[in-house]
C-alpha cells in the first residue's frame, strides 16, 4: 500500500475506521503484491520518517539499462519486421478462461456468445505472444496495436444432457436435474504481430 499522507495520518492517530467506509474491492493477486519503488512526481509528500518506504528508491531512468533494453527491443522489432517468427502462439483471456492458441485452432467454449455463426471476432485480451526466437510477455496485457487475434464462430450447439443428482441416504432426499450447457466453437484464423515495440 502506498504510504501517502492519508494513510500516515490514519496510522499515527490510531483512528478507527468509520462506519461508512467504502466496501473494499477484491484486487487481483498481482496488484496486491506490487511494490511501489517508483513514486510518480505528481504526488508530493513532505518528508517524514514514514513518508518514504524503507526500501531504496530505484531511479526511474537508468541509461545503461536503457541501452541494453533498446538493443533487445531493436533485435525483436527487426525479427518481427522480417517476419522471421514461424508459427505464432498466443495466450488469450476469453470467456473468463485463458487459452493457449495458434492458427487453425478449434476452441470449445461452454457458454453462449452474442455473435452469429460465421462472424469474425477479435480477441483483445492477449497475455503472451511467442514465435520461434522471441516471446512477448504482457504485464498483464499486451497492447491492442501490437497483437491482433482473429477468430470465427463456427458452431453454436448444446452439450449432451448431464445429470445432476443429489442424494442423502436414510433421509428420503433425492433430486435429479438435467443440465444442458450452450456451447460455441471458435476457429482461430490469424495471429498478427506488428513491429511497435519501444
Amino acid at each position: 500500500m502506498t504510504l501517502n499522507l492519508r494513510n500516515v495520518l490514519l496510522r499515527a492517530a490510531g483512528a478507527r475506521l468509520s462506519a461508512n467506509t467504502e466496501k473494499r474491492a477484491v484486487l487481483p493477486a498481482s496488484r496486491r503484491f506490487q511494490s511501489s519503488s517508483v513514486i510518480s512526481p505528481d504526488s508530493y509528500v513532505p518528508q517524514t520518517s514514514l513518508s518514504r518506504p524503507p526500501w531504496p528508491q530505484l531511479p526511474a531512468f537508468d541509461p545503461e539499462e536503457e541501452d541494453r533494453h533498446r538493443a533487445v527491443v531493436q533485435k525483436v522489432n527487426g525479427l518481427i519486421e522480417e517476419g522471421a517468427f514461424g508459427r505464432l502462439f498466443a495466450v488469450v483471456h476469453f470467456a473468463s478462461r485463458q487459452w493457449k492458441v495458434t492458427n487453425e485452432d478449434l476452441i470449445l467454449i461452454e457458454n453462449h456468445i452474442d455473435a452469429a455463426c460465421g462472424d469474425r471476432i477479435r480477441m483483445e485480451k492477449v497475455l503472451l505472444v511467442g514465435g520461434r526466437d522471441f516471446t512477448l510477455v504482457g504485464k498483464p496485457l499486451l497492447s491492442r496495436d501490437l497483437v491482433q487475434v482473429h477468430a470465427t464462430v463456427i458452431e453454436k450447439t448444446e452439450s449432451w444432457p448431464m445429470v445432476h443428482m443429489r442424494f442423502w441416504k436414510r433421509h428420503r432426499f433425492q433430486k435429479k436435474r438435467i443440465i444442458i450447457q450452450p456451447q460455441t466453437v471458435l476457429r482461430i484464423n490469424t495471429i498478427d504481430v506488428s513491429p511497435k515495440l519501444f
Binding site: M1, R31, F33, Q34, S35, E65, K100, K139, V163, H164
Partner: protein, 157 residues
C-alpha cells in the same frame, strides 16, 4: 349372461411403464452383472452412478489444479527454482498467467517457460537485494519493478 361389473373392477395403472423402465435401463446397459437387466438392481446402481458423476465434476476442477501445481513445481525445479517463488514473483511482475497455461507452456514451449522462470528469478533477487540495501540490478534480464498505471494508482491513493 353378461357380467358388466367385472370390467369396473379392473384398473388401468398407466400406459407408459415400459418406456420409463427402458429409459432407466438405457443408462445401465454398460454395467456389469444383473444390474444391467433387472430394474430393481438397476435403479440403485444408476442412482449411485449419477451421484458419483455429479460429485466428480466438482472434484475434477480441484484435482486438475492440483495436477497443474505438481507439474509446475517439477518444471520450475528443473530450472533451479521452487513453485511458490515462481508464482509469487510472476505476480509481483504483474504477469497474470494462470496455472493451466503455465503448465502448457512448460510442456510445449520450454524456451518461453525458461524465460518466465528467468524473469521470476530476477525479480526475486532484485527484491532480496533491495531488501538488503543494495540497489544493483541483476545482469542479463529485462526486469523492472513496473507498476500498473491508471486504475491501480487511483484505487490505492
Amino acid at each position: 349372461m353378461v357380467f358388466l361389473t367385472l370390467s369396473c373392477w379392473t384398473r388401468n395403472r398407466g400406459p407408459d411403464r415400459y418406456w420409463r423402465v427402458q429409459e432407466l435401463l438405457k443408462s445401465a446397459r454398460h454395467f456389469r452383472g444383473r444390474k444391467n437387466r433387472c430394474y430393481s438392481l438397476a435403479v440403485r446402481a444408476v442412482r449411485r452412478a449419477f451421484i458419483y458423476a455429479s460429485k466428480a465434476r466438482k472434484a475434477k476442477r480441484r484435482s486438475m489444479r492440483q495436477l497443474w501445481i505438481q507439474r509446475l513445481a517439477a518444471a520450475s525445479r528443473e530450472q533451479h527454482m521452487k513453485y511458490p517463488a515462481l508464482i509469487h514473483n510472476l505476480l509481483k511482475c504483474s504477469v497474470e498467467l494462470n496455472r493451466r497455461v503455465l503448465c502448457d507452456l512448460s510442456i510445449t514451449e520450454p524456451r518461453s517457460f525458461q524465460a518466465l522462470t528467468a524473469l521470476a528469478q530476477a525479480r526475486r533477487t532484485e527484491g532480496l537485494r533491495a531488501a538488503l540495501g543494495e540497489g544493483a540490478e541483476p545482469p542479463g534480464v529485462f526486469s523492472r519493478i513496473t507498476q500498473l498505471q491508471g486504475i491501480s494508482q487511483s484505487q490505492r491513493s
